[in-house]
Amino acid sequence: MSDPTHLTISELRQLLDDRELSAQELLGLHLERIEAADADVKAFLRLTTAKAAEQAQAADRALRDGTAGPLAGIPMAVKDVLCVKGVETTAGSQILKGFKPPYTGTAVQRLFDAGAVMLGVSNCDEFAMGSSTENSGYFPTHNPWSLDRVPGGSSGGSAAAVAAGEATFSLGSDTGGSIRQPAALCGVIGMKPTYGRVSRYGLIAFASSLDQIGPFARSVEDCALILQTMAGHDPLDSTCADRPNDVTRGLHDGVEKMRLGVPREYFEVEGMEPGVRLAIQKALNTLESAGAELVDVSLPHTDYGLAAYYIIAPAECSSNLARFDGVRYGMSEQDAQNITDAYMRTRRKGFGAEVRRRVMLGTYALSSGYYDAYYLKAQKVRTLIKQDFDDAFANCDAIVSGTSPTVAFPIGSKTQDPLSMYLCDVLTLGANLAGLPGISVPCGMSEGLPVGLQVLTPQWREDIALRVARAYELAADMRVEVALVD
């Protein structure tokens, strides 16, 4: 038997069904792996060992009874922005230290109901703001492929946990690329669904018109299964659409005769590394050999995406983060002259530098006299960016490109210059502005580090994105490898 910490959900399910392995044994192997690797990787903020033991025991019972759900006994990591009842959830921030949610969010609950076993809470940039996990209010996470490099972000802990063999799958949230970019940098699969596909109930909000929850996994089939389990209407999130859950339709049908759009602007972005461009070009050739037709498309407003995003996301964040006032939960500086003073002290102390920077930027953009010049203008440019994608999809079934312009960069190399960090998301944030689904799959290495191929499709067409990704996985004989941390 191969090392179970390297296997996919479907492979593990076979072992569990055949009684070659119990859910409790599988949990034990993962806790050993975490013990061995996580002192270096630091993917987890905290482990939920007692909860995991309980869930693994229940999974073993269900496997014996024949009532096991599709994820019975499968170990997962949950990003620190998803509320789980009774489990300390802090959004990577000191301001929420000690906060134990009184309820579990819908996406996580559906995975629990399907039998998944929660190993622990994975690290992230504070309030999911960042592209390297260096903005965590606790500690940075390290890339399992090269420990002096970042895992990407903001869901860096979730990506690193899967890459290091510490969890079979994990959950992240993606507001501008926070699932796809770390997936690319850690050499795993990561997917952001269509806005409204997965309920955001229980997700600590960053930018409400952009946030989506999605999975990290080791195979496209696993990714589809996790998404299918989480997706679907939820009365507790009015933006979660009541639509057929058809994401796995035609998964294995291949890309024969499919038209894949190659946006020239996405190959000319600032800072695009030649090694990344080369790996993407090879991946496109592989898809062409598998029967797809590559067509040139244009996304002419690409150069304006970052600017529009850095108005809209901070504006929404400044509004969402107003709730952290030191009154109902979290850090509180009560030694104050009056309530305003208490708010100001609590928030100055509890928020880290990047969060404060974005709250300031967003507040400024929404403030009296500047609203039209910034927020309204950005919302109009958002329309143009969405129109770009609509026009491109009139001529192709999916858009293929790199996920990140660079491979994983050294820890500390971008922390002094916020704009250089923001540029990490230049290929991913368009999908958030337009509400599109997107997936990143590993497509080889550059400088010994993983590169990710991104597939974007029209809204509600996760099935096509997964199908293209599956076709690539098959044609390239791609297998997500576990980085051995020795």
């Binding site: 009015s238 933006t239 659409a241 304006y304 600017a307 529009a308 708010y343 100055r348 300031m360 203008k377």
Partner: protein, 97 residues
């Protein structure tokens, strides 16, 4: 357009963010750099373009307004930094005269 220190102080108050020594210069410099990049939006003529606030067309769905289970007072206060007699405790809201 660079941000002045007066503007930084005004925005920090609106955002209820306290300022510590060095913060005014930090924000003025960093936000001005980001705003320089953002100013490229002004190159685009968007007079005839409608704004997008919601990218996905979802009909407003309201559930039936039926009373259901909610948090108990104890649960609601479980995370409170300070609670007194079933209430959240806060510093004085009204100035003393």
């Amino acid at each position: 357009m660079p941000l002045s220190r007066d503007q930084v102080r005004h925005v920090a108050l609106l955002a209820r963010l306290g300022l510590e020594p060095g913060d005014e210069d930090f924000y003025a410099e960093q936000l001005s750099g980001i705003l320089r990049h953002i100013d490229r939006l002004q190159e685009l003529n968007t007079d005839a373009i409608p704004p997008t606030a919601q990218v996905v067309e979802v009909a407003a769905t309201l559930r039936e307004d039926e009373p259901g289970q909610c948090l108990t007072q104890e649960e609601a206060l479980a995370n409170a930094p300070a609670a007194v007699d079933g209430f959240f405790r806060v510093p004085s809201i009204q100035e003393e005269t």
